[in-house]
Subunit: 214 residues, 2 copies
Amino acid sequence: MPKQEAKALQKSRIQHQNRAVILAAALEVFSAYGYRGTTVDQIAAKAGLSKPNLLYYFRRKEDIYVAVMEETLDEWLKPLRVLDVKGEPIAELTRYISEKVDSSFAHPQASRLFANEILHGAPHIQKFLKGPLKALVEEKATVIRQWMADGKIAPVDSPHFIFSIWAVTQHYADFSVQVAAVLGEEPKRERVKQAVTEILLRGLQVGRTVFHAE
Amino acid sequence: MPKQEAKALQKSRIQHQNRAVILAAALEVFSAYGYRGTTVDQIAAKAGLSKPNLLYYFRRKEDIYVAVMEETLDEWLKPLRVLDVKGEPIAELTRYISEKVDSSFAHPQASRLFANEILHGAPHIQKFLKGPLKALVEEKATVIRQWMADGKIAPVDSPHFIFSIWAVTQHYADFSVQVAAVLGEEPKRERVKQAVTEILLRGLQVGRTVFHAE
DNA sequence: TCGGCTCTTGACCATTTGATCAAGAAATAA
DNA sequence: TTATTTCTTGATCAAATGGTCAAGAGCCGA
């Protein structure tokens, strides 16, 4: 019976669909309340399933969390991966910042989930940080250094510059409550994009004419 | 008996000392594990007290949290308060950034406690955000606008510039695990300070000569 | 239609955890 | 010393919560 062999791998329509529903619900709840602050019941309720039913798909709460985190990480890396040494530096960095701002506005939960994980010591993603992420940052820091060496941008500490881009763009997802409270209104995506790009990139531009005081 | 009247206000030596010990322990634990992730037992253990004893000083877990948060907020505001319109803009902003970086290195727990609170919707400090913080940011945004109007710095979106300073500097406390993992070592305070200052302020300087490519 | 596999759930369990309380120990004022 | 107030704690409770299980319902291929 071939059914036996396929059992472990093959996922039925229902499996596929329910796992997706659960992961979507879990992202919402985990990002809002943190790992410990989230109950399995909450996720089950949001997913429209009974608790034992949910635990039929993911045996432990932690398994759900890990699954959501894995889904998130890949998407998180994407925009940086395409930073291209052959492109025009300011255009490349502008695109990267733009995509990160878009991401903060479109998927704030993913950003918050990630932020919360790191804030609490990154117990589940140490390997990701020290492996793929470290490698990618080193690669892209080299790209930026190349641009500097070619005289295309002003000198800057490459890894710290990457950290700054992350910090500023993700701020609009992770600290959105604070931003909205201080501004007195929800920030506008395009306005944020423009402001952030200017703040982060203006200092890099070479041959730029700055108006002079007096 | 005057003792009766004073009872509610007066705090004995023991009261004073134990409250301080509890708040210090609570800051450590809350910042590491979040509100829900922290147990009263953990705080009591770290403070060297029995759980009922701890609850003699703070009747509820939430009371401890609120007390720690209040202690933290004031310190958080301090560096921004002294931003002076009469000072030299770049020097003033450099000092502000420097103090924020110092704060991230010296008191990362306070920053993380604050970050965690906001990340989860700021349920306990809405009033602080919409009141004192909003007012202060508006005041200091005006200071920056004045500098721009006087032609002392390049134009920039003031509130978003303040957000950027917060984001970048606090990143080294809130995301320190990520920073260390990606760099492969602990970042050096002075190096961070220099890099961050350059990234954030170079674009503001007026009459600056940037070397030109080729 | 039938047999087996997948999916679903009500009931239940063990542990954790915030909080209480009564009673004793220690400090303090008379 | 003595009386009173403050401080401390072992024992205990009720609720919340992660996880189990057996039994039933539903789906699907032969």
